[in-house]
């Protein structure tokens, strides 16, 4: 028990240190923030105060729900997968494999880093949205309650999936190539940028299989009034379904991640690392 607590402590400190290094790396940070918070702020300034057609809800509020959902998903899936792929390529994972207790500490640390990043970006978006007056916080306790479970559950689902994907991708570059387009596609069809009612029914079914749609739906239920329900599938917020699908993704993701990460860490060795480094150099 004592060692579990100790590992947790080291993992959290490690994750925080990695996060601080990321924040200090200006190039990295600029790339991260411009792509999400920057675009969000531009859109807010441009059309944030206009009401959504046929309603009295501001576009800014609608965009906030969508951007938060997308930030959580891309942070958990894409950033984490790329971090893990990079850690395998440069030997970070092997270093920790050579250290007693290193792998659990590593995983806790990576989880903490990604959560800090998600919190930073979401916090910036909410803060700027509030300051510009185009975002309003939910008023009812029920909405706050939904926020309190939908964000952690959705985050758990994408973080575990990201860890699973990161442990099979050969390098961070392939991670970006392989995952970039599907992420864009998911963003377009999952209702976080465009209303679901724009989509043909087969596309709606695909979107409803993905965690991003449900994360977005849950967040819209928090930030939007019920007068916006006309744009949703079935005309309801479908919170029980949201919990069920995100929960299922979280369980599947955790099982998959546990299996694939164990496999990946077991395979790490100095000569495999050298082979991958040679391949990476040859590709440059």
């Amino acid at each position: 028990m004592k060692t579990v607590r100790k590992m947790m402590g080291i993992g959290v400190r490690r994750g925080w240190a990695e996060f601080v290094h990321l924040v200090k790396d200006r190039k990295e940070q600029a790339g991260q923030l411009l792509g999400t918070v920057g675009v969000f702020v531009l859109l807010l300034l441009w059309i944030g105060d206009e009401p959504v057609k046929g309603t009295d809800v501001s576009s800014g509020t609608l965009m906030t729900a969508g951007f938060l959902a997308f930030t959580i998903t891309s942070g958990g899936l894409l950033s984490l997968a790329m971090m893990i792929a990079a850690d395998r390529e440069d030997g970070t994972m092997l270093r920790l494999r050579a250290t007693a207790g290193g792998i659990p500490v590593y995983l806790i640390g990576r989880g903490v880093t990604v959560l800090c990043q998600i919190v930073l970006q979401c916090g910036l978006m909410l803060g700027i949205g509030l300051a510009l007056g185009s975002v309003t916080f939910p008023s009812s306790p029920a909405d706050w309650l939904t926020l309190a479970w939908v964000v952690p559950l959705g985050t758990l689902a994408v973080v575990s999936l990201g860890a699973a994907i990161g442990s099979v991708l050969p390098s961070p570059k392939t991670a970006a190539v392989i995952m970039g387009l599907p992420m864009m596609g998911a963003m377009l069809i999952s209702g976080v940028m465009l209303p679901m009612s724009y989509m043909p029914e087969p596309v709606q079914w695909i979107a409803q299989a993905l965690p991003l749609y449900w994360q977005g739906l849950g967040l819209r239920s928090v930030f939007l009034p019920d007068s916006m329900l006309a744009a949703e599938i079935g005309g309801a917020w479908r919170l029980p379904e949201t919990a069920a699908v995100l929960g299922a993704w979280a369980v599947a993701g955790l099982l998959l991640a546990a299996w694939l990460l164990r496999r990946a860490t077991r395979r790490e060795s100095g000569s495999r690392l050298a082979e991958r480094r040679l391949a990476a150099q040859a590709a440059n």
Binding site: I10, R13, R14, A17, E18, H21, L22, K24, D25, D87, D90, G91, T92, L94, R95, R97, A98, T99, A100, G101, G102, V105, E268, S269, G270, S271, L273, A274, R277
Partner: protein, 281 residues
């Protein structure tokens, strides 16, 4: 002295290619042993099996009394591992990383003392990714020993070092062995390094340990003949022999006294080693 590493009949095959064909090796506690061999001989494969990073195809292996394939965290905490060329944790500060890696252990060395011992005090607040090759390597060793391991693995530790850095590194390894009684297994393809550092040298050839012993054992085992030279009738003569003392005796008897221009040259370790590698190839 008890045994730190015991290997019996170790075999390793990748698909059909058999890299290790029955390696036997014993290393006592407190010993420095060099695993020497040409590139591709299976040195890294052997060390990775001992470190528990790779599962063997056959044979018995015991490292600190445990089969590496079943070694848990308590076992791993007693090992120090320095692999070839790390590139990890580039964004971390030098002291920050060393203190972090120490925090996994119950009784770590003090990071500042360790940095001082390795001549890295000036780089304490520098980013790991900005260190020079030699500094980076010393940091790798610092991380390898921060948890006070009983057994340290060094895989090709001085590849890419300039002569000065190499000398510094050799002094450091000697200090670790004498002051801390650490058992050290290092791999190298540099014979001079093996001779300088190790009490015993094990030569890995053709998937087996061809010779294991100190420099004299090695020279004796390869039996590269000695050369006896002298001047007779105004001409330089040489004779290759395994019994130089007998030849000199015979010459003295023939000359009835001192032998002009007498020269007895025993094969250098390097000649013996190259002779051995050449015969195996």
């Amino acid at each position: 002295m008890s045994t730190a590493i015991s290997v019996r009949g170790l075999r390793m095959a990748y698909g059909r290619a058999e890299v290790l064909k029955g390696v036997d090796l014993d290393i006592r506690e407190g010993e420095i042993v060099a695993l020497l061999g040409p590139n591709g001989a299976g040195k890294t494969t052997t060390i990775e099996i001992l470190e528990g990073f790779r599962n063997r195809s056959g044979g018995e292996v015991s490292v600190l009394g445990t089969d590496p394939q079943r070694g848990g965290d308590a076992w791993r905490a007693r090992l120090g591992v320095v692999l070839q060329a790390w590139q990890d944790h580039k964004r971390w500060g030098v002291r920050e990383l060393l203190a972090h890696m120490g925090s996994y252990y119950d009784n770590p060395r003090d990071p500042d003392e360790l940095l001082a011992a390795l001549g890295l005090t000036g780089q304490a607040s520098q980013q790991v990714g900005l260190l020079s090759g030699g500094q980076r390597r010393r940091l790798d060793v610092a991380i390898g020993i921060v948890g006070r391991p009983e057994l340290l693995f060094l895989d090709e530790p001085t590849t890419g070092f300039d002569p000065e850095a190499r000398r510094e590194f050799h002094r450091l390894v000697e200090r670790l062995a004498t002051e801390d009684g650490m058992t050290i297994l290092l791999t190298t393809h540099d014979l001079a390094e093996a001779e300088r550092l190790a009490g015993r040298i094990a030569i890995l050839l053709g998937g087996k340990i061809a010779v294991c012993g100190d420099a004299e054992d090695l020279a004796r085992a390869v039996q590269a003949p000695s050369r006896v030279g002298w001047i007779e009738d105004g001409e330089r003569r040489t004779r290759a022999t395994d019994d130089p003392s007998g030849v000199v005796w015979e010459l003295q008897a023939r000359f009835g006294g001192p032998v002009p221009g007498l020269e007895v040259r025993r094969p250098t370790l390097e000649e013996s080693y190259l002779d051995l590698v050449g015969r195996a190839a």
